[in-house]
């Protein structure tokens, strides 16, 4: 599909020469670089609680953001009105941070190369509601049926279809259609007069509705949420202090996201405020660790054909055999540090300035048998599932909370333990990785990453990994 058949050209009559004119306006006060970002986002959500479909919402937001960069300064303005006057006004406002005669020649736009990592012919929200409603009802029913001790179930289905278009003063013109769908189930279980225990599961991606009918069914997520809630009913106090920790495969990859991912975003490193600043080429993890950020995996939640600055996404090696190899760049950081783009410039919406962000972050598989990894631990903690995490970029300290974990005693998983936070230091933690499993698994598609007030969808993954030393925040 060419520009003239693209969403913004056909629906809003935007022409290539209009974009060139807006960019010229943006650079009229002497900026070095300008870009313009159009976004049209349609979302829908259906939520069931207490066996009632209590809410269903749909809506549309659209707008345009104009950015001007002058040396290290950024001016940004946006409008939720796509009329030429409003766009020109935004361009003028953004232009004001620059000061001097225009120095960039009028750019002539050329379309970027095309590929499609998510060939979704019919996005779920282009269908009627009956099929999507059925997913929620099936999930709710299956979670209740899982065990009689489950007394509350909430099931939510949400999807979106985002059309974006980016043009910049270097002549890049790119556009993309980005579908997303996700189904979540949360279950509460109780035994006698005990406290309720929570189980949560969900997943999806840039997929067609068929994904939930054939690959990951509502019953799959429902059983998983139910299982977790029931497991927690028997949980004992978590240990406190240093321990050997084994991470299970999949979602525990959130460790990588917090421990190293954020610290390798180029903005922090350019400014020297990351614990990883100036450490390229240094050993920051055990030689068993190779960590990748890959925006090109088909259908994944974190994948993008093009990032929100018009650069194609790619597979970026962050850590190779324990050695720090590179940072995740956005346009501003790669301009200032003269680094090659990595396709990592993302923004929450047209109201936001792009920043370097992760896409799908994971560790490559190693050679150990996962069973053997557990057998090798006399006393420790096995973490099968996590809630969220957080990192202090500058000190490098990060946490994540284990929502399903078990004591390892004598090489075997024994009792489940209550929720506990684990804490470590980014450039140090992965040096204690002593075994890496051969069972790399990506998460099921539920990750949301927050940075400086902007949320974007991401993916994570990890094989079974043994970390010899990590601090566990329990009470026992």
């Amino acid at each position: 599909m060419g520009f003239s058949d693209s969403f913004f050209a056909t629906k809003f009559g935007i022409r290539s020469q209009d974009l060139e004119a807006y960019l010229a306006e943006a650079l009229s006060q002497g900026g070095d670089y300008a870009d313009i970002y159009f976004e049209y986002l349609a979302t829908s959500t259906i939520s069931m609680d207490e066996s009632i479909v209590k809410s269903a919402t749909q809506g549309v937001s659209l707008g345009v953001g104009v950015r001007v960069i002058s040396r290290e300064r950024t001016g940004y303005a946006y409008s939720d009105d796509l009329s030429p006057e409003k766009i020109r006004h935004a361009a003028k406002v953004a232009a004001c941070i620059a000061n001097g005669p225009a120095k960039v020649d009028k750019s002539s736009l050329h379309e970027g190369a095309k590929r499609n990592l998510y060939p979704v012919l019919t996005a779920p929200n282009e269908l009627g509601f009956a099929e999507r409603l059925d997913l929620v009802k099936r999930a709710e029913k299956a979670a209740r049926a899982y065990d009689s001790r489950i007394f509350q179930v909430q099931a939510t289905y949400a999807d979106s279809l985002r059309h974006v278009m980016v043009a910049n003063s270097e002549g890049v013109l790119n556009f993309d259609r980005q579908p997303m769908a996700r189904l979540n189930v949360s279950a509460l279980a109780r035994e006698g007069n005990g406290h309720p225990q929570n189980g949560y599961a969900g997943g999806g991606g840039r997929v067609e509705l068929d994904f939930f009918l054939n690959e990951k069914t509502p019953e799959h997520f429902a059983r998983e949420a139910g299982r977790q809630a029931i497991v927690q009913l028997g949980a004992v106090e978590a240990p406190a202090g240093e321990s050997t920790v084994v991470l299970g495969p999949g979602w525990p990859g959130v460790l990588l996201h917090e421990a190293v991912g954020h610290g390798l975003e180029a903005d922090f490193n350019r400014k020297g405020t990351s614990a990883f600043s100036g450490r390229i080429g240094q050993q920051v993890a055990s030689p068993l660790c190779t960590v990748i950020d890959d925006g090109t995996i088909g259908g994944r939640r974190g994948s993008l054909n093009v990032d929100d600055e018009g650069n194609v996404s790619q597979r970026n090696v962050l850590i190779e055999n324990g050695i720090l190899r590179g940072y995740l760049q956005d346009q501003l950081s790669s301009r200032i540090t003269k680094a090659a783009p990595t396709g990592s410039g993302r923004r929450e919406s047209y109201e936001h300035i792009p920043m370097p962000r992760m896409t799908n972050t994971f560790m490559l598989a190693g050679e150990s048998d996962p069973e053997e990894i557990i057998r090798s631990v006399d006393k420790g903690l096995y973490c099968a599932n996590f809630g969220g995490g957080q990192v202090d970029i500058t000190s490098g300290n990060f946490v994540f909370s284990a929502s399903e974990s078990y004591l390892i005693e004598g090489g075997k998983l024994t009792r489940p333990v209550r929720n506990a936070t684990l804490i470590g230091n980014g450039p140090e933690a992965l040096k204690y990785v002593s075994m890496v499993g051969n069972d790399l698994k990506l998460d099921e598609g539920i990750g949301i990453c927050g940075k400086a007030g902007q949320s974007v969808p991401v993916g994570v993954g990890i094989p079974t990994v043994k970390i010899d030393r990590m601090t566990v925040g329990g009470t026992a």
């Binding site: 209590k54 809506g59 707008g63 290290e72 007394f151 936070t421 329990g474």
Partner: protein, 446 residues
């Protein structure tokens, strides 16, 4: 058309299309933000935006929609989208608007809007950000870097109307200044920040003060060590004590109560905290960030004692959760621009106790003074509490040295039952708490 007319028009269109009730919210805002780093302007952002949401009822069936396009065509599309969804939801006997007799608004000027924010020159805003950062950078030679100084301002207008005759609107203003400093000692690098926000520009803390506080906070983190695992008294400084209010809110808000997903469900009238613990929600205090004349269903806000001298007195409720529990709404409905109303808080605070923070610290021979908490390891169903922490170690009643990369753990039940509240209550946002002393928690470290 005015925003209120646009809202009433959408409601009428919904009624014409077969809705039995409808409610409409419009939010309009202008934002300006500037970040200065190492003396140079790094980012300036300026824009205005609008959004509109509709919720309709057809009998006991509900549907919601939103749009950023307030043109007649955009509104028509939004109405059609909401109507379509009434066929998707299930009949819910508790769904519905409040009774007309419940509507109203707190009278008088609540001090939510100040024209001194609107009239502020961008050059002044930039200078404030620059000054805040400069004060941080100049404070001490160990401040080697900066994450910048910033100034933000916002002006907003919110309109709410429904088909039972409520219509109201209010304007609001906001401004804030912040500084974030980075300090280095050997291999260790630390960052901390300070900020202040106000509805009136004249109430804003001076930028050089904000910069100095950021620098002081950063410097005192240097040289941090990891402690051995132990059980000790823990003191939360007010900035982190506020997070406890978030957990208490989650445990007493209507939805988690009727779903029985909180350890405080079914505990009205029982002692759930120490005698010195009194928790109030008050959405009517002029000038504060948790204040608004009516809640997001059109019910007047009010003052609600939640915990009084340790006894649980009231939950915070919107109309739906109140009906589920057989109680009355406390005027705490909250929502974005669309969807069913959730429950929010007004100014939600812990009343001051008697001892000063210095006296509390002086009473601890060996303990942990927490200045930062990270992570989300708090579960209000079970009360389990486990978070990452940094701060200062207390030796013989004095703040002795910096500590980081540790966890603190316990249960919310025990923390509430044993806590002592300091006398230093200050409102710096819509939740507020003085210094808190907890006699025993588990510190996880080496």
């Amino acid at each position: 058309m005015t925003l209120l007319e646009i809202a009433n028009d959408a409601i009428q269109q919904a009624l014409d299309a077969g809705a039995t009730d409808a409610e409409c919210t419009i939010a309009e805002g202008e934002e300006f933000s500037v970040q200065v780093r190492r003396g140079e302007v790094e980012t300036i952002k300026q824009a205005a935006s609008r959004g509109m949401g509709l919720r309709i009822l057809v009998g006991s069936y509900t549907g919601s929609s939103y749009t950023s396009d307030l043109s007649p065509e955009g509104v028509r599309h939004m109405v059609a989208q909401a109507m379509e969804l009434a066929a998707v939801t299930t009949e819910d006997p508790f769904a519905g608007l409040p009774e007309a007799s419940d509507f109203g608004a707190v009278a008088g000027d609540l001090g939510l809007y100040s024209s001194d924010v609107e009239g502020l020159d961008p050059a002044v805003k930039i200078e404030i950000a620059r000054c805040a950062e400069d004060a941080a950078l100049k404070f001490d030679a160990r401040i080697t870097n900066s994450d910048g100084g910033s100034f933000d301002s916002q002006l907003g207008r919110r309109v709410f109307a429904n088909s039972r005759g409520f219509a109201g609107e209010y304007r609001s203003s906001y401004c804030s200044v912040s500084a974030s400093a980075v300090a280095k000692l050997g291999d260790q690098m630390e960052r901390d920040y300070w900020y202040h926000s106000a509805r009136r520009f004249t109430d804003l803390e001076k930028p050089d003060y904000v910069g100095r506080r950021a620098a002081e906070r950063t410097l005192r983190r240097l040289g941090s060590v990891k402690m051995e695992t132990q059980r000790v008294p823990v003191i939360f400084e007010p900035r982190v004590a506020r997070s406890m209010m978030g957990h208490i809110f989650e445990a007493i808000e209507g939805r988690s109560v009727y779903r029985q997903s909180t350890f405080l469900a079914g505990k009205l009238g029982e002692t759930v905290a120490a005698r010195g613990v009194t928790v109030i929600d008050d959405g009517t205090i002029p000038g504060l960030f948790g204040t608004q004349p009516f809640d997001d269903e059109g019910i007047p806000t009010r003052r609600t004692p939640v915990i009084e001298k340790g006894v649980l007195k009231s939950y915070l409720l919107n109309t739906y959760s109140a009906r589920k529990l057989g109680l009355k709404s406390t005027g705490n409905a909250s929502r974005g621009i669309t969807g069913n109303a959730g429950v929010g808080h007004g100014n939600f605070y812990l009343e001051a106790g008697t001892r000063t923070p210095e006296e509390l610290i002086a009473s601890v021979p060996n303990g942990f003074y927490v200045t930062e908490l990270i992570g989300s390891g708090v579960n209000v169903s079970t009360g389990d509490y486990s978070r990452g922490a940094a701060g200062l170690w207390i030796r013989n009643g004095e703040l002795a040295f910096a500590v980081s990369e540790v966890t603190i753990a316990g249960t919310l039940q025990q923390m509430l039952m044993t806590m002592e509240v300091g006398n230093d209550l200050e409102f710096r946002g819509s939740v507020a708490a003085p210094t808190l002393y907890i006699p025993e928690m588990t510190v996880g470290g080496r």
